[in-house]
Symmetry: D2
């Protein structure tokens, strides 16, 4: 890497999970849209063919006349090849296949337990962690060996635990985790301002928020726009809309696996006094099952969608078709920013523009009443060569109680996953709020079934 | 107070809740049975007649030929009178009447939730705290004003929160809390040794344990007798008895509101690897409702009793009758130690014999991974003029996860009780593991009903 | 206060020490130079005449044709009058007179100990704290009573202890402390860049630094400009100039009580590997006397000036003359920004432009290895309604050892000052690195003499 | 190891530094004097001949008719041989020879700096740590590899850093450090009681104390005997004797390298309000040079001795002669307890009698305001299978300030020693209170000279 006229050239980016059809394309677009950086992206994926396809697509994007920067896309045959020399590492992997995910998400339904996403907490998130964390350990060991000074951006879920596992194995790693869930709440607050004041198209970045918590269960303790405190406004707003819901964008929550009417977000505000910052689908999974996921009727009444694995299977089919179309030229490339921030954080770390944004990092006091070293999500200042968390203060009242419960569960999940500890795994699984009401006996049956369903991706230490 | 020939004379003890029929009598017996101390006990009770009766009984005990020490028993007309000049303060009060307790314990049954005791956590413990903590605040303020240097021994439940409230209002208070639940587990381990080795009547004090946790939900992380590690023995023992149970003493758990077959204790050991140290009735209340208190059949299968308020009403009748009989002379006084340790702790603080025992105190690091200043139960060294906690180490795995959930709930309970904060109170109430599965709507109905049922004893700040 | 068209109007600012000839004038200029705010400044000073003069000068500044904003300047007769209704409070007081300061700065010379400023640490800073902290307590109590929600900006030295005392007495106070010492080091780094790269007039704000430590003894652990890491450059730079020194600006250190050749700053970098961030005069006072203040020759060899009280007396004379000239019109008002940031921080808190700058605040983890609650200096993010410290990380190696020594001394200074504790005061005084080598006997003589010299401003609790 | 009739048989003890003429003999005596344990002691020493001699002496002690227990003494050819199978490890080594020690203790005299012992802090302790800590690292690695579960008792100085280094390299090590300095203060308090009350021969163990601090710089924050608070008595006592001193035992401080008149101990009490608990020779070295070690006259006025290396050379000659005499039979063996506690701690860990005593351990909160994980000295409860620190509370006022300065210096000493970091070593060396007043230039000369003098025992990482 070097600088020419204030621009970064010959950057080396390793993309782990480089066969991704989605995140990877958006990232390529964002790189193409920015004139201040250029270099090579090395795509590594255990599905090598997928990486090769993306190299073709990346090449086309970079060659597009609207592209402001030139990037080379290469396929790396190993983690070592991808990482050696890398300035930045992007991790966006899918642990296992839809078979395992189907068990994660749907197996608990047999006992009457529903999940909206199943990739973070709850029984699905727990089992996903069992197979995913050993993969992250392998990646972190490779980073330690081949690119210990590289900045590492993780997008993989369960976010908190993926980072936690990497820091556990290589404490000097310069890794952080990015998630766009909080952006959605900034957009909701902007939509609220439009509704109240008639001010249109306020950029979400102008909604200043203090975020704290853990990924997908973050809370906003203060919010402002220009000179306005948004809490009184939001209080009125949720008073008006908490029953009907308030959806933003053209998407309708009923037709979508991803949208919602923000009813849960508003309900949590009215009960806990802080603005829940993730999307309703994720928030629901952190609360006891009886609150928002009791049964399908309850889900419908809260106006959010369950993302089924059938939907994901169909969605992947669509994306594979799109991949083929992009490669064949059937679909023309169009340079369009993704709305994600990854490339901006890279620029900030290079000294090309400071940015303050929410990010997942080990707690060094930025959340003053959560344990040190667990991974938390708060704002951080990104500048040349450093990511400095902004002190977000203490979590108040029951937001602390609810969050800390997951924090301790996640610590035990980590230890169980890395130690292949059946007993610790089982008791941690049973302690998840989403399984409340299950008897220990039923819980163990479900646990065994789900763990067995994912056995192809478990390390050898497990005796099943 | 002064010393004569190494004995403490003219000690002044204030007994708050001095009309107690039970604890107070045992304490009087213990005082009478020890020749190294003497002085005056000032009984204060909002039920003055009860205090007067106890003064008579105390006088008889002290006058008994077997009494080794002379104590005067006086009735104090006010907290100020009781406390002024006191060297020690004993607090053993009953907050409210059986009417409030009936609601605490039984109101949740309407929604299918059972409690074994209802005085510590769960909906009953929570509501009890709402009326009890303001009383403790008043007592702590009086201690601050009239006897700030006195040692304060609390026996009142909810133990943790009573102490927490007193330290909150008067941080320099020299208060600690005593509870005999752990003694029962020492006795169980002694019984195990008798069963295995044939050694009879091992004193419970000889079973050395490292205790850590919170009152009624304490855990033993190491246990030994002489040169033996008791964990492997207990592992075998629970393997043998976890299904049938193992009751000690002549009492049968089926006939008693207080005894159990220790099945929960053994189940928790087999799941969590640590020896749960309180009695089964208490332990059950700290776990999710689906574990041990799902319904009456579940309770029966775990072989422990629910202490109903009807039973308590009858029990009180018996004790009132006994009080009358003791006063009238119908029942003869017999000097008999209670098995409690309060008087030994007093002696230790006077320099009359060091003792190490489990005690409730603000956490100053004795439990290294619970928050500082919350009240925890560990061993402490009692010596002349000081109580020094023994560092009990960190709570491992899910014992931490289970315990910390209550710790955070209790902190919020304290703030809600002292701040008369409806919203915080409600969300904390809903977060109790014993109410898992209740919907927020039902939960609020139950909360409102129970809080209203105790309104006669709530401070004016509540708007109900 | 209200907002009109995005501008703040009818702001109320209380200026404690409003008779100041210096800080106050600069602040008035900065207010006049900014169109986005307006309102009233209430000047309070125990020297009422000085406040009245400043009200006249403030009025003239506000009336000047170049003034972009209108501010009213009023004299407040009491702290209560000044504070009631205030949105912001500025504190810039001089504790005592030049008589006391003369003793603070020069009395130790009798024993061979020199001070460059004598207002922060060392024997002079210590004694100044003895008389100053009770004043800050009084101010903090008044803020608690009359304007508890106001933002409070302190400029008074000893900065760390002034803030510490205010938070000690009123923990909810929204106070922070501003100091421009760090700005000078940013300017030095800009000058270095000019010298090396030929880039002229880089604004100091563009030099991005991570600051941590305590006021006047802050350290920079990372520094960048655009994409450049300034540490390698500074390493070369100090290699070149550490012997000759490198002064910036037209001022010559030899002619000035305030300038220096930055030799100490460079020496500290070469020894400790971090960029010392305060001016040399202050830095010298935090190190053992044998390093930079051994005697006048040593001072001369390090090319920095001792600010004598004689100089201050003359300087005040000049400023009083200027005050008179400004009032009489002999000197014309000229609107010129001061280079300070106070008004920008006020704007940021109003939502009129975020700013990240170094500031003194209680440690909530922003310096991860200094004790919680002591006052530290790091960057913070100023936004509407909040000041959020940026996590500056841990102090490395001996910068921690050197800094923590002062931290503990300052805690003891606080307790001694507020408790009028002779014994604690004396042992703390003796523990200052600037008095190293003094015998306890001589130390006590000096202590007694200096404390007695300031007795007119000590609370009644002292028995001297 | 096994138990027979409650006695421990076939214990395996590894003695590292087993050629010791002093500690080792005392330890052999203590073992011989106790009937409840027996087994083998494996002596390992880099001076194999010394170990062989001690094996002979040990055999004679064990064969003595008064010996109550049988122990075999073997010479181990390597750390591995000594450690494999060991239940307990004793470490008592001398790092380097008297040549290095001569430089440690006396080199600073050239610059006017005196040391009383030179093995803990000060320039001598620092340089000793540079050569000693790598040895402890090697030993800790061997323990990790060959006897990870063994209990490790360290007697080597610098105590704090030896333990710190072992825990740094092998955090699971079960090591603690024993030191008899505090016993001397218990004896002084017993002598005080004899003088005041006429009670003779109070065992030092009956003087109950709360100890906290770091080895050789411990403080007693409370002390009692039976029902008496010893602080008021000690206050009177020091009032009476602080000028003349008060020596105990027949030894006269003037004739001895080890005794003192306790004047420093009394002076520190009068200044800081806590009872300094180590001997005067050690205490003096933790204070600034100007207090007690200014020059030889100052030392004489404080009535303590400097332990010169000449004295040690002569003393060793005497001990070698005694070794020969014991082997030849010229001197008859006499079984006599040493007064040390090591064997009692071993018994306690085996379950043969609980003991509370002062011990050096990593801080897990036992000293609440020193950093976690640094090695501190407090009381601990020794029981079967565990050493549980007793919470000693917070260090008050300037005892904290004085102690923490050494704590941070010691952390930097550790990092410098293990990292062979010249720059960190030098700045840490300069920061020692015993070198106060030295200029950085002289300090570096002295540092270089002393470090070079010990180069034969430094790891290869140093470039000198």
């Amino acid at each position: 890497m070097k600088f020419e006229n204030g621009n970064a050239r010959e950057l080396q980016i390793a993309y782990i999970g480089g066969g991704s059809r989605g995140w990877a394309w958006g990232f390529m677009m964002d790189l193409a849209d920015d004139s201040q950086m250029g270099g090579v992206v090395r795509l590594y994926d255990i599905d090598r063919k997928a990486a090769e396809n993306n190299a073709v697509i990346g090449g086309k994007i970079s060659a597009h006349p609207d592209a402001k920067a030139k990037w080379r896309y290469e396929v790396a045959g190993s983690l070592q090849d991808a990482l050696t020399g890398a300035d930045f590492v992007v991790i966006s992997i899918l642990p296992g296949t839809f078979d395992e995910m189907r068990s994660d998400v749907h197996a608990p339904e047999e006992y009457g337990f529903y999940q909206a996403v199943g990739d973070t907490v709850g029984p699905g998130g727990f089992i996903r962690a069992m197979r995913c964390l050993p993969m992250l350990v392998e990646i972190a060991e490779a980073i330690r060996d081949y690119s210990p000074k590289a900045w590492v951006i993780n997008y993989t879920n369960p976010m908190t635990l993926c980072l936690r596992a990497m820091y556990d194995i290589f404490p000097e790693i310069r890794a952080f985790g990015c998630c766009h869930e909080v952006f959605g709440t900034q957009k909701l607050l902007a939509a609220m301002l439009e509704e109240k004041l008639g001010v249109k198209e306020i950029p979400r970045q102008d909604i200043k928020i203090n975020v704290l918590g853990i990924n997908h269960f973050t809370w906003i303790s203060s919010a402002s726009w220009q000179n306005m405190d948004l809490f009184p406004l939001y209080s009125e707003f949720t008073g008006k809309y908490h029953e009907t819901g308030f959806a933003i964008g053209e998407d309708n929550w009923m037709n979508s696996a991803f949208h919602s009417a923000n009813k849960i977000k508003m309900d949590l505000f009215r009960r806990f006094g802080q603005i829940a910052a993730a999307g309703d689908r994720h928030l629901a999974e952190f609360m006891p099952a009886s609150w928002y996921l009791r049964d399908k009727e309850t889900v419908a009444s809260w106006k959010f969608g369950l993302t089924t694995v059938d939907w994901r299977v169909q969605d992947l089919k669509d994306r594979l078709a799109r991949s083929a179309a992009l490669i064949s030229g059937e679909e023309a490339i169009e340079i369009k920013p993704s709305g994600e921030e990854g490339h901006l954080l890279i620029k900030a770390l290079l000294g090309l523009g400071d940015i303050i944004s929410n990010v997942n990092l080990p707690n060094k006091g930025q959340v003053s009443n959560l344990p040190v070293d667990v991974v938390v999500e708060t704002n951080a200042l990104f500048r040349r060569g450093e990511v400095l968390p902004v002190a977000a203060g203490a979590m108040p009242g029951n937001t602390l109680a609810l969050t800390s419960r997951h924090v301790y569960n996640q610590e035990n999940t980590l230890r169980a996953a890395l130690g292949c500890d059946y007993s610790l795994a089982l008791t941690t699984f049973l302690n998840d709020p989403l399984l409340e009401g299950i008897t220990p006996a039923d819980g163990e049956k479900l646990f065994y079934k789900m763990l067995t369903a994912t056995r192809n991706y478990l390390p050898g230490g497990w005796k099943l």
